[in-house]
Amino acid sequence: MPEPTTAAVPATPPAPPGAPGRTPPWQTPPGPTPSQTVGPFYGYALPFPGGGDVAPAGHPEAVTVHGYVHDGAGAPVPDALLEFWQGGPGTGLPGSMRRDGVTGGHLGRNGVDFTGFGRIPTDADGHYTLRTLPPGTPAGLPYLSVCVFARGLAHHLYTRVYLAEGHDALLDALEPERRATLVARREEGGTGHRSYRFDIRLQGDGETVFLEFR
């Protein structure tokens, strides 16, 4: 059994590691900071009230996207954190997690601006719900970008939720069975409200297509 090595106790202080400002600008770093798992205890830090309510309150064009996150045994993942981002016109404003300067608590979105950013922890059933505006992808099919974090996941995963079928460079490169994992299923409802189902399977049968960007 290998034992950890014991570092010698230094007799002289090391050279200062270079306080901010001392490092010459534009010096290429040796490499990126590695990812580490979000762990099980982010729940009192990262989620915020209304994190899934990206559409301004009462907006007539709001759509619902919801579903479940499953692991490789088909069990629900109750401690995943999903982040949604959509580009397009009108997105990219601050204010997703406004703070109350009086109490220090969460103030909520201002109800007018569309930030395009949603953050939703899955519930005990592994379920999430996002309410947003249809993404205004400039060209091609409308899709939402998703970033998945979870205990047990050492490095987050990206995927996409396509809200329509059609020609798309990414989708067209996939086998039909895999392609289907990226396309949300329109749900029939009597209210006229548009609702989509999108499940995420981290592993195994029907495993969701996850992406890397180069």
Partner: protein, 256 residues
């Protein structure tokens, strides 16, 4: 239950396999493998299919090349001082953690949101599901956030978190760490990670830190004690720069 010795053997095997690959000409791998069995929770939670590559340079309108924006309304000044969020002072060793947020070319990323959370000085999270029998501190929540300055710099004031046990294997202990969540200019630069403290004897036993099998990458998760950042009769200073990666296409436009 799996013993620490069994986990340690797996940790060493994974590290040696990586180092052999490097010696045989393999590329450096900066991020942890999602399939890292010594971290038991990863077994059912990583994809078996390879990731599908999206060529960002061939699709400049890809949504992921932009990202959410945060501003002055999203943080308050007190959010970066975790020792002033309650009526009294938290127990523990007061520290400041400072550094810069940089892109892969070393350029500062200004105005970006950094969030942080951690256990208290006794190694207990203010989270209902943390049942470690260590005391909660009514004067410490352990959550902070800030926006980076024009030079990409950030500073948090907090207390040094304690080590704590977990149930990955028998007698498993996490080295003291602070969780960080960081946004860059593109959604592809998103990073959630953990910062560690120099010289922690628990490093070689911890499968989460050791999931980074590249030694120099692993070292980048460890802050440096910086005596110049320590404040006389007040706090000890640690310095930790955060470097985001992502496709080069996201590095063209600087700042906002």
């Amino acid at each position: 239950m799996t013993t620490q010795d069994e986990i340690s053997v797996e940790i060493v095997a994974a590290r040696e396999a990586y180092e052999k690959g490097r010696a045989d000409g393999g590329h450096a791998v900066h991020h942890p493998s999602r399939s890292y069995a010594p971290y038991r929770s990863s077994v059912l939670r990583h994809p078996r299919q390879p990731l599908v590559a999206v060529d960002a340079s061939g699709d400049p309108e890809a949504v992921e090349l932009s990202g959410p924006v945060f501003g002055a309304t999203d943080v308050t000044a007190l959010d970066s001082d975790l020792t002033r969020q309650h009526r009294g002072e938290p127990l523990g060793e007061r520290i400041t953690v400072s550094g810069r947020l940089l892109d892969g070319r070393g350029r500062p990323l200004r105005g970006q949101l950094i969030e942080l959370w951690q256990a208290n000085a006794s190694g207990r999270y203010a989270h209902q599901r943390d049942d470690h029998p260590a005391p909660l501190d009514p004067n410490f929540t352990g959550v902070g956030r800030t926006l980076t300055g024009d030079d990409g710099s950030y500073t948090f004031t907090t207390v040094k978190p304690g080590a704590y046990p977990w149930r990955n294997h028998d007698n498993a202990w996490r080295p003291a760490h602070i969780h960080f969540s960081v946004f860059g200019q593109a959604f592809t630069q998103r990073l959630v990670t953990q910062m560690y403290f120099p010289g922690d004897p628990l490093f070689p036993y911890d499968p989460i830190l050791q999931s980074v099998t590249d030694a120099s990458a692993r070292q980048r998760l460890v802050a440096a004690y910086d005596h110049g950042l320590s404040r006389p009769e007040w706090s000890l200073g640690y310095r930790w720069d955060i470097v985001l990666d992502g496709p080069s296409a996201t590095w063209i436009e600087e700042g906002r």
